[in-house]
């Protein structure tokens, strides 16, 4: 759960049921892997509504919740917390490659 929900922009996120992939609710009420397509709530009330919508669409996902994001000057959304940043962008180190004989 995001800790600071006051005054932040909010998106709804979950893990996809079939494969656990991180997804966001878009304006059409569908789940997308792309954060830049996420529906953005611009205040707390809008956030509550967004979460309700996400829960209504939760058939194909697990446990939707709100994530606080910031919007850059270029309009690019980025999660505020490190945890959510990692959720979106993946491991912060290079994992062993599948065919690695040795670690790179």
């Amino acid at each position: 759960m995001a800790k600071n929900l006051s005054g932040d922009l909010l998106v709804a996120s979950a893990n996809r049921l079939t494969d656990g992939v991180v997804v966001f609710l878009d304006d059409a009420g569908e789940w997308t892997k792309r954060l830049d397509r996420a529906a953005v709530a611009r205040d707390k009330r809008a956030g509550e509504i967004l979460l309700e919508r996400a829960k209504a669409e939760a058939f194909t996902v697990v446990d939707p919740y709100l994530v606080a994001v910031s919007e850059g000057d270029d309009g690019v959304l980025e999660p505020l917390s490190l945890r959510e940043k990692i959720r979106v962008s993946g491991l912060t180190f290079e994992a062993i490659a599948a065919d690695a004989v040795r670690y790179a």
């Binding site: 079939t18 494969d19 656990g20 490190l82 004989v101």
Partner: protein
């Protein structure tokens, strides 16, 4: 890339082999789970109803994907099984896996819809992911040198297998207040950390020459680390299951269910006292013992036989070529010192394959590397591999003569770094990179420490030093029992690392570390560790390990030095 190996014999594995009963049960569980997944995907089952069902098949939902925790009972694998794990990692995951502190294997990118197929593939080699998660009795761990160590009284894995069967799909104990972890040691030098488990079992021989169990209860790490108390000094072996049933029944009935963080048996023992706990268990045991759970001698023997040590051909204890190489090649000499341990037979050694190459995520292996280790096991270690709870792999029966070849073969895989037990043999949980429970990352911290101290000669000079890193209070990295423990915390969205000193779980000595001072920033951890090492090197007496010096001089000198630089 396959190594050129001498004639490979196909060994009958020297540990418990499934019969048709075991196989049927695993297969039926897979089919039950397949149906449960179908009903979840169709919406018939809610997530709340489904969660315990998937957890008891080892399936966690992590940050990016589902993680499958595959059981490796008593950390013992045949080469065939290890190859299958490599195959499954390749087919159902991203081609690598992580060996854990409970001797299991974790695959981090599993899809729920493919999980039943992955489990079916595991079943083909008599493996499964049953009860590696959830509020059930978990994988029973043992000493990773079992069956090969010179100080062994009896192979603990016999008892791990007996407990494994008794605890699998136990109808009464499938909805415990919380998870339940059991460990068994067959040696006075406890390499299974039995005193920090919910139940620890220590085999020992009494004055009459009988072998029985000391039963230890209520140990554990995590939020409230505790060292277990002795419930029973000496328990006859054939009454083990009756005693466990009594203990689990008391826990199931009286363990707390109101608070997730107070639900382990250690809290129950703490709250009612060891004396009262003993009374309750002994009363229940009095009614159960001698009944259907008493193990017939024949049953014990039939299982024990399967763990009979392999008939290893006599091999020379001293080999000219090995002695020569030791003098010629410094890396080989260091590797012999740190990665090779005595075996009960003079002509053999136990080899640890270090899964901690400099800068690598600790405990990880690619599919190719797993297959490489399987090949080496076939050629040089009776087709058998062990998983240590320090996230390394072990080849338990290597002839002295074969040490150079094994060293070279492991080296080609990157698993011959001479750092076992040394500062870069770090134990780290997956941390915030993978885990939904974490507060901070642990792998990058491990990598930076590992890179900083990579120089082997220096590592050997520093000597035995166990660094253990956890990304949250759940302590899956066992930081409480690290000589240096590092706990990642989150303060206002920033990762900070709390350092503790003086923890230990080896050689019968169990101690919990003491926090040094305020948590340090991520980019200061290496400097802090450097300061700790420098303090030790300056103060040590001859033969003292880091943790010994700490015990002698206390925390202050270390604290002063660390906080002067962070």
């Amino acid at each position: 890339m396959r190594c050129v190996m001498p004639d490979t014999h196909f060994y009958r594995p020297n540990f418990y082999q499934y019969d048709d009963y075991d196989r049927t049960l695993v297969t039926e569980r897979v089919e039950q789970f397949r149906d449960q997944v179908r009903r979840r995907l169709s919406g018939e089952l809610t997530e709340e109803q489904f969660k315990p069902l998937r957890l008891t098949n080892g399936l966690y939902l992590q940050l990016h994907a589902y993680m499958l925790r595959i059981a490796i009972p008593y950390g013992t694998l045949s080469s065939r099984q290890l190859r299958k794990l490599a195959d499954i990692a390749r087919k159902y995951d991203r081609g690598y896996g992580h060996f854990t502190t409970r001797q299991n294997l974790q695959l981090n990118w599993i899809k729920l819809e493919e999980a039943p197929d992955a489990l079916a593939a595991l079943a083909e080699v008599d493996m499964h992911a049953m009860q590696t998660s959830g509020n059930v009795i978990r994988n029973v761990t043992a000493d990773h040198f079992a069956g090969a160590a010179i100080d062994e009284i009896e192979d603990p894995r016999i008892w791990c297998e007996i407990v494994r069967q008794w605890s699998t799909l136990h109808p009464e104990f499938s909805f415990l207040p919380r998870k339940f972890k059991i460990a068994v040691t067959g040696s006075p030098n406890d390499r299974a950390a039995v005193r920090v488990h919910d139940i620890g079992l220590r085999l020992w021989r009494n004055e009459q020459g009988e072998v029985g169990f000391e039963v230890i209860v209520g140990g554990g790490l995590g939020r409230t680390p505790m060292i277990g108390k002795t419930l029973r000094e000496f328990l006859p072996k054939d009454e083990l299951l009756a005693y466990l049933e009594a203990t689990l029944r008391v826990y199931n009935r009286y363990g707390r269910r109101d608070n997730l963080y107070k639900a382990r048996i250690k809290i129950l023992v703490h709250e009612v006292g060891a004396e009262k706990m003993r009374e309750e268990v002994e009363a229940e045991y009095a009614d159960i013992k001698g009944g259907a759970l008493k193990l017939p001698a024949e049953t014990i023997e039939a299982i024990a036989r399967q763990f009979a040590p392999p008939a290893l051909p006599h091999r020379p204890a001293v080999v000219g070529a090995v002695e020569a190489l030791k003098l010629e090649d410094r890396d080989f000499a260091l590797w012999l010192k740190s990665n090779v341990s005595p075996h009960r037979l003079a002509g053999y050694r136990i080899v640890t394959a270090s899964l901690k190459p400099a800068g690598a995520p600790p405990g990880d292996a690619s599919s190719v590397q797993m297959e490489g280790v399987a090949d080496i096991a076939d050629a040089y270690s009776q087709g058998e591999i062990r998983v240590s709870h320090e996230q390394n792999l072990v080849l338990p029966h290597v002839a002295v003569e074969d040490l150079p070849a094994v060293w070279l073969a492991l080296g080609r895989l990157g698993f011959a770094e001479a750092n076992v037990g040394k500062i870069t043999d770090i134990i780290a949980c997956p941390g915030l990179d993978y885990c939904a429970l974490a507060n901070a990352r642990s792998i990058p911290v491990a990598q930076s420490i590992s890179n900083h101290f990579a120089a082997l000669a220096r590592q050997h000079d520093i000597g035995d030093l166990k660094i253990k890193i956890s990304g949250c209070i759940n302590a899956c990295g066992h930081h409480h029992v690290g000589h240096i423990g590092i706990l990642g915390v989150d303060k206002n969205g920033v990762e900070l690392y709390q350092i503790s000193l003086g923890g230990d779980v080896d050689f019968g000595k169990t101690a919990l570390g003491t926090i040094l001072g305020p948590a340090v920033a991520a980019d200061k951890v290496v400097e802090a560790v450097d300061a700790l090492v420098a303090t030790y090197l300056d103060a040590r007496s001859a033969g003292e390990r880091f943790v010994d010096t700490y015990r002698r001089i206390g925390a202050q000198p270390f604290k002063d030095r660390v906080y002067a630089v962070v």
